[in-house]
Symmetry: C2
Subunit: 342 residues, 2 copies
DNA sequence: CTGAAAGCGCTTACAG
DNA sequence: CTGAAAGCGCTTACAG
């Protein structure tokens, strides 16, 4: 048995097969441009097999400039939504023999830029979810970014290849739905980090409320965790004399935190307060009153995004690639008051 | 502005600073063994800074044999428990400037061996969670594994550096607790993949039941997802005339699926059926009746594991390192029937 | 069809 | 204190 840690190299095979390393390389890479005697080919292949040869990817990367790795950048690595994205990307990459390395933005600009730059040298391209502002800064500010970037999500940057998720329609549907269910004091609950005035969910919320002659009200809270949302909502409830009767949450993590807060308060869902989240993550289906949510088309998003990335890597001069997908409302018990309502 | 994609190299700095690449390398690496004129040092540093030089990690890796990456292998990448592990590891690695690449076993032996071998060339060592059998096969069967391996979890392999989580105590406590709450028909619910006869939770369950003179009963189901657990439990309930009155679940994902199944059946928790999970993931706290669980000491496990790995990488000849940690029962509403019970 | 040579971007003995 | 040279393990024009 060979010594652990010392792997075979091209030269080992070359020596044993009595050919040059160049020939071994050509055989192993199946290069079609140079025909190789089938006797040579067979011999090399057999020996490589017997020696359990595995190419040194690092060396290959150094000379070819290709690492066969893609970087995936998500806002929060621990979000169930991010998990869904990682799984989908992984699934697309697997058959290609490519690897994946994940980086979390953690809501911090410098962290993002630093983390992504570190990735620059080790991946062939990156797929970033949301944070249009950061992606733009990354690619447009000097020194730019040396590898292909595909921006995906509801907050994607259209200056590069992108897969945009249209969230406005789903969000408007969510608010309309709450109104139809009889809600009048509908609050939008959003973590600080996602509370931009021009964000799609917020815009849809505000315009739908306005169209119905209702007063919009925001609960913005600092920490975008389940716990952060729970505590923030409890605090909000404590300082108001009256609770809202409808809640639209920026994402499912928030929705779950708020759900728990409502139970803490002994409030009935949806009878007293109706609740809608956003993302479509699995965990929303397992509470007592499954939570309505806007389902992101994660699989298609990743499939298209990775497809764009692959093509961009192979053909750097391709014209800008873009796609539009839609997220749609999925109504569940947490917001369904009347029987027979669709 | 420099061309995107073409990064500065050592030679760029060397040329501009009028020194050899060797000197630049020494300055940038702060090698203490060879003193360098501070004038030279300053000049090089200034120029490197101005040029925005970033070393090519691939090239460094090829020559030093160190990638400053660790591989993390988890049974299921999408388990919330895995997310917790990734976050903890990431946190330990960050200050060191190290990277992380994650691989999921997905319950498949060949997948595991193949995936981990692919990692071999690109990481300085790996941290694997559970799957003692696979880890053992990996390191003990020819051709072995060329990089340090630290095995962690309740099902770790002690033939390499390891951090073992003692689960038997917590599991026994869980079953005793259910018995104290008045449960008599207590079922252990476990996904196929974790249903080995000698697994700690199962052993503790069986012996605690036996000690109380109760009949053990297993529900083993094929797909270890929330949904898989839910459907399996519903099917199980449908073919029995009487439901169990206590459920001990192999992990929190299972517990959440079973929780949902119980709600589907209109069963009260914990009044009709008391429920305990295992892992200590966040999501168990957000359902209406927060789920009791055995809390894994994830943070300590990762801290110790990464510490062992670092030391092993620096000193390959170190004697075997090992640590033992304990997971303990956390009782919540899903299994607390009497008021005042601890 | 195959090989000798150069080179990817670094680091590290070895000299001086 | 600093440089010339070799080399990490590959791939790829360039010859033949």
């Amino acid at each position: 048995m060979r010594q652990a840690g010392s792997r075979r190299t091209l030269h080992d095979i070359a020596r044993e097969a009595q050919v040059s390393p160049a020939t071994v390389s050509r055989v192993l890479n199946g290069r079609l441009d140079s025909r190789i005697a089938s006797a040579t080919r067979d011999r090399v292949l057999r020996i490589a097999e017997r020696l359990g040869y595995e190419p040194n990817r690092i060396a290959q990367a150094l000379v070819t400039g290709r690492t066969h790795m893609v970087g995936v950048v998500v806002p929060y690595r621990w979000y169930p939504f991010a998990t869904d994205v990682m799984d989908c990307v992984q699934q697309r990459l697997e058959p290609l023999g490519w690897g994946m390395v994940v980086e979390g933005t953690e809501g911090d600009r410098e962290w993002f830029l630093h983390g992504v730059r570190r990735l620059e040298g080790q991946v062939d391209g990156i797929l970033t979810v949301d944070r249009c502002d950061l992606v733009q800064a990354l690619v447009d500010d000097p020194p730019g970014f040396g590898k292909p970037v595909v921006s995906v999500g509801s907050d994607c940057y259209r200056g590069v290849d992108h897969v945009s998720i249209e969230l406005g329609r789903g969000a408007a549907d969510a608010v309309s739905h709450l109104i139809e269910q009889g809600c009048r004091r509908i609050v939008y609950v959003v973590p600080q980090i996602s509370a931009h005035p021009h964000e799609a969910r917020r815009l849809a919320y505000e315009s739908t409320m306005a169209a119905a002659g209702l007063e919009p009200e925001l609960v913005v809270f600092p920490k975008g965790t389940r716990r952060g949302a729970r505590e923030a909502f409890l605090a909000h409830a404590a300082e108001r004399r009256r609770l809202p009767d409808g809640l639209f949450c920026c994402n499912d993590v928030t929705a779950l935190g708020v759900y728990r807060a409502l139970r803490d308060l002994g409030v009935r869902i949806p009878e007293d307060v109706a609740l809608v989240g956003c993302d479509g993550t699995d965990e929303t289906q397992y509470v007592d009153r499954p939570i309505s949510t806007i389902v992101m088309p994660v699989a298609q998003m990743c499939e298209q995004g990775i497809g764009f990335l692959q093509r961009r890597i192979d053909q750097p001069d391709l014209p800008l690639q873009g796609a539009e997908l839609t997220a749609s409302l999925c109504i569940r018990e947490s917001s369904r008051r009347q029987v027979g309502d669709s």
